[in-house]
């Protein structure tokens, strides 16, 4: 990515890459304006007719009036006004089995399944078969009546009945072999609902060891059990299952995830400490270690700083009151905080930026950007300056940066650095063209003038004379340069 400008130009012009540009902006998007104008001019013509528009009516929020989500809010809003009438005696609707004869077809009737004879009912037949579609009366039957249903359904028939939503009893599948047969039939039916129902039964009636062992060779059923345990938040059994399967990383991550639901910072820290011994992958375990170390420090820093702020004796907290607690913030945010409030602390303290940098092995670039932003925010320009200064072996100082100076200028400018500060860094931008455009943007006249001088570009310099203030030192400087006969202008 470190290509020279010229390379980059070639790179784009070679047309190997098609950048998404608006090169022909003039004819492209001036047209947009054109259509806007046209629209506006038409608008006044037809304004008076607005109410009669045959366009779908739309409320301001854009829902067509009469759409469902619109109506939900409408009817809900109007609801408060309705007075409740005295209660009626309960009407018995247990026998709601109206089944009108219909022409055409309906979706749910299509696959409701077979009759006992095994023939698939075409949809016209099934419409008259209300028993298939009305489950509720069955569900409401008292338990004693279930016995009627415990007839001799084979595992296959049982699964079929379950698919049709009919009541079945699984209790008659007693032996392990029967239970597994039932499960296998459920799996071949691919109906997650039925598989889960069978699994619930197996979970209730088999020991964990046996269930886990048998599921190992039944991957589909296993996945459904995992899903079921996740849904019902049965954390303990899920962990046991993962352990039994030797999926140790899943065990670790699942347990680690729990920290998110612990609000108290001390408890959360202690929980994370407990996570350190979990069987994470090597990289993850170092990240979890860092997570714990970070929270541990945040707890200490938070306690100390809250006190310091309340005490009212530390200037920086008075001038820049903390906006939020530092607890549970990401590492880089914490570093920023420490660069802001604890910049000059020695390496020995928990809150010293250098200590944090070392402990967490923060990359040079990240550290630099963060420290720069924090010190610039405080307008501590000497600290900013010091960040860049390095001495070479001869003792000369020069400015070095792991970031491009363009980015540096960008960050400083975002933190509203004054022109005097900005120009020091604009001057360090290597590429002349970029330097000029930055300098013009931030009104660093000296740099613009000097760069044009170095480029021996008389025309540009004359042009720039018109942009600086009349009678200013800048104008004078340009005049002097233009009158200087020593310079060999290129134009």
């Amino acid at each position: 990515m470190m290509k020279s400008k010229a390379d980059e130009e070639d790179y784009w012009n070679s047309s190997k890459f098609k950048a998404f540009t608006f090169d022909d902006e003039d004819d492209e998007f001036s047209r947009l304006k054109e259509s806007k104008r046209a629209v506006n001019s038409i608008r006044c013509l037809v304004e008076e007719d607005d109410d009669e528009e045959e366009v779908e009516k739309v409320s301001w929020s854009g829902e067509p009036v009469g759409s469902i989500s619109w109506s939900v809010s409408e009817t809900a809003a109007s609801n408060q006004k309705t007075d409740r009438e005295p209660a009626f005696p309960k009407i018995n609707t247990d026998t709601v089995t109206i089944s009108k004869s219909h022409s055409g077809y309906s979706l749910s009737s299509l696959f409701k399944g077979k009759t006992k004879g095994g023939n698939f009912q075409s949809f016209t037949d099934s419409l008259s078969d209300s028993s298939v579609r009305l489950y509720a009366p069955e569900l409401r039957k008292p338990k004693s009546e279930y016995k009627d249903y415990v007839s001799d359904w084979s595992p296959e028939e049982t699964v079929q009945r379950m698919q049709q939503g009919k009541v079945v009893s699984l209790e008659k599948f007693r032996s392990l072999q029967d239970k597994l047969l039932l499960l296998d039939y459920a799996v071949t039916a691919h109906d997650g609902n039925v598989i889960t129902a069978v699994l619930i039964y197996l979970k209730r009636t088999l020991s964990k060891e046996v269930l886990f062992r048998e599921l190992e060779s039944r991957q589909t059923a296993l996945r459904h059990l995992i899903h079921y345990l996740t849904e019902t938040r049965d954390q303990r059994l899920l962990l046991e299952l993962f352990r039994a399967l030797g999926r140790m990383e899943d065990v670790a991550l699942l347990q680690y995830k729990e920290h998110l639901s612990i609000a108290d910072e001390n408890k959360r820290r202690d929980f994370l400490k407990g996570c350190l011994s979990l069987p994470f992958s090597r990289e993850d375990s170092s990240h979890v270690q860092d997570h714990y170390t970070l929270l541990e420090r945040q707890v200490i820093i938070e306690t100390t700083d809250r006190q310091a702020e309340r005490g009212g004796k530390v200037e920086v907290f008075q001038k820049f009151p903390r906006k939020a607690s530092i607890l549970n913030m990401p590492l880089i945010t914490t570093l920023y905080y420490c660069c802001f409030y604890h910049y000059n602390e020695s390496e020995g303290t928990f809150s010293g930026p250098l200590n944090i940098r070392q402990t967490f092995k923060i990359s040079e670039k990240q550290y630099f950007v963060t420290a720069l932003a924090a010190r610039a925010k405080l307008k501590s320009w000497s600290d900013v300056d010091a960040l860049f200064t390095s001495r070479n072996w001869l003792g000369f100082t020069r400015k070095k940066s792991p970031l491009s100076f363009q980015r540096v200028v960008d960050i400083l400018q975002k933190n509203s650095a004054p022109t005097q500060v900005l120009q020091d860094y604009v001057a360090l931008v290597d590429d002349a063209e970029l330097r000029i455009s930055l300098a013009q943007k931030y009104k660093c006249h000296d740099i613009v003038i000097n760069t044009y001088r170095d480029l021996k570009d008389r025309q540009q310099l004359i042009g720039y004379r018109g942009k600086v203030e009349r009678g200013s030192t800048e104008e004078k400087k340009i005049e002097e340069l233009l009158n200087n006969t020593q310079i060999r202008w290129k134009n």
Partner: protein
């Protein structure tokens, strides 16, 4: 109301009508006045099927959203819960029912599960002791929802996560069921092609279900010639790229949900003449987007760079039409003009809206950030320096840009490099965790499981071979007058759509090598048609393929398929079905752990 569904090659209104009929039937089953309590998530998908007026005709007097606590008062005989089969919703329902009983209410309760009953949920209701309070427990099979004239969606948001992360195939079962419904209405699909594990699985279930219903033969003349089942994980790259069609960009920037988009209101404020500009509305403007709107149908699939000229052309036509009034001299002519006015006004307001939207989009696409991001994406897609740490990504992390943006880019680099070098992988991981928080270990692990972000394993990087064989990068993509599908990403031709294109001609046999490099099996199955249902094709008649994206599809991919349908010599029309419409952002979000609390 939904005329646009019947414009296409396949009349999807039949499906919608069948769904509506089903709804009416259920409502009639609960005799008397009713109130519906909505699982809020469902109102969007249901809006594509029915308006409030339909419900009202069947005595639905009140509608509420499902909330914990007591039910609002409403003088109705029936309370019907319309809910997805989710355990947490069952707990809320139980709460509702309990608070009701205390008041000795005469109201009857019903539950309608969408799209399917769940024993798990019924079990939970039983545990809570409320199961017996329900007169009716039924299911409303809403597997495939007609979304547009050529588009069906299950609106099943978590399908990709469930299939590829949790290995849960429930969504595939629903997919197979949905396809059976479709075949019941539109005839048996004689040819099935597929690529990917999930595709194989769905095809197996379909064939099995067909065997089970062997007693009844489907006597409908087949509308579809071919079904193509595609796993999303066969093409992980495409959704990560920024879509550059008009509709795609609207989705990328503002997000389209259930056919609606919410836009910042400023540009839409109507200023009446002589009226001092009123306070700007603060509520966002909601608009429906589908092909029922003539202008939108025309421009939705264009590359955004071609939208400006299309809009201005339209403006000229409309202006000219309005100018006609000066020529109208006789009463008859004036009458004629007036009769056209409503249509012209609709066109005018549509033009105004889309001009405003295009301006909003343009503000973004002309920004430096958008340009830089796109440049990096295109470098990755062409295979430039995908094995090094990318400075742009590094800078974005340092600036703490939204995490999802970072993840999209890093995943893209990983996919284009067949996994990142261990050192690069570790570096990104560390930077991301340090900047956005260590808890994202969970999200990064999810991405790894889904193969979106992974360290390189021994095998060599085969992305360049795939790119070259399938011509995924076209150097001279024409945005204004496209001649290839690559226009939808200004150069990148979506892999999924290339596979579809090659299947139609010259056939997959020509790319066996590449198919082997992509995950999962590829296969072909035939379904026997009853005698007499074999189509006698007219000379020059197009064939129809249903392309089903298992795990989601982007608007740009849809645009590319529509482009293929319109190509004169393609001889193929495409209907698109999917589990969910997605873009890179919504997709990555669906794979994150607890995203709502973690997105900065």
């Amino acid at each position: 109301m939904a005329a646009h569904l019947s414009y296409g090659r396949v009349n999807l209104n039949i499906l919608r009508e069948a769904a509506r009929k089903d709804l009416r039937e259920f409502l009639d089953k609960c005799a008397g006045s009713k109130a519906i309590v909505w699982d809020e998530y469902l109102t969007g998908p249901f809006g594509l099927i029915a308006q409030y007026s339909l419900l009202k005709e069947h005595e639905v007097e009140k509608m509420f959203t499902l909330k914990s606590g007591g039910l609002p008062a409403a003088d109705v005989k029936n309370i019907i819960f319309f809910v997805r089969p989710r355990l947490e919703l069952m707990d809320i329902i139980a709460e509702n029912v309990f608070s009701e009983d205390k008041m000795h209410s005469p109201r009857d309760f019903h539950i309608l599960f969408v799209p399917r009953r769940s024993m798990l949920c019924e079990q939970r209701l039983k545990e809570q002791g409320v199961l017996a309070s329900f007169i009716n427990i039924d299911e409303y099979i809403l597997d495939l929802i007609p979304y547009d004239g050529d588009l069906l969606s299950m609106e099943y948001e978590s399908a990709f996560r469930e299939c590829y992360l949790e290995n849960d195939q429930t969504s595939l079962y629903h997919t197979a069921k949905g396809l059976m419904t479709l075949q019941a209405l539109y005839g048996t699909i004689p040819q099935i092609y597929g690529k990917g594990d999930c595709a194989r699985h769905v095809a197996n279930m379909m064939l099995r279900m067909k065997r089970e219903f062997a007693g009844s033969q489907n006597q409908i003349l087949p509308v579809f010639d071919t079904l193509l089942l595609l796993d999303r994980n066969v093409d992980l790259l495409t959704p990560l790229a920024t879509q550059l069609t008009y509709e795609g960009l609207i989705d990328e920037i503002y997000g389209i949900t259930n056919g609606y988009v919410k836009l910042p209101p400023e540009k839409f404020a109507q200023k009446k003449q002589g009226e001092a500009s009123k306070d700007l509305p603060t509520e966002s403007k909601k608009m429906q987007l589908n092909s029922a709107e003539e202008l939108y149908a025309e421009i939705r699939d264009k590359n955004f760079n071609a939208v400006g000229s299309a809009l201005s052309k339209k403006a000229k036509i409309i202006s000219a039409a309005f100018e006609e009034r000066h020529n109208a001299k006789t009463v008859g002519e004036i009458k004629q003009f007036v009769s056209q006015l409503p249509h012209m006004q609709a066109a005018r307001s549509s033009l105004a809206n889309h001009t405003s939207i295009a301006e909003l989009v343009k503000d973004i696409t002309t920004s430096e950030a958008f340009f830089d991001n796109l440049t990096v994406e295109q470098e990755f897609m062409t295979g430039v320096e995908t094995d090094k740490v990318n400075t742009y990504i590094e800078d974005c992390i340092a600036q703490k840009d939204p995490l999802i943006k970072i993840l999209r880019l890093v995943c893209m680099q990983s996919v284009c490099n067949n996994g990142l070098k261990q050192k690069v992988f570790d570096y990104y991981k560390r930077e991301i965790l340090q900047t956005y928080g260590y808890e994202h270990i969970l999200t990064l692990n999810n991405l790894e499981k889904a193969s979106l972000l992974k360290p390189q394993t021994g095998s060599r990087n085969n992305y360049p071979t795939i790119r070259k064989t399938l011509k995924l990068w076209m150097e001279d993509a024409n945005e204004q007058n496209p001649n290839d599908i690559s226009y939808v990403y200004s150069g990148y031709a979506p892999l999924s759509v290339r596979l579809t294109q090659v299947l139609a001609r010259p056939g997959w046999r020509s790319i066996e090598e590449v198919l082997k490099m992509l995950p999962g099996p590829h296969f072909e199955e035939r379904q026997q048609l009853p005698a007499g249902l074999h189509k006698k094709r007219q000379q020059g008649e197009n064939r129809t393929t249903l392309v089903f994206f298992l795990g989601g599809v982007s608007y740009a991919e849809i645009a590319a398929l529509r482009f293929l349908s319109q190509m004169e010599d393609s001889g193929m029309e495409y209907i698109i079905a999917t589990t969910k419409l997605l873009n890179g952002t919504t997709w990555i979000k669906s794979l994150m752990d607890r995203p709502e609390s973690q997105i900065p």
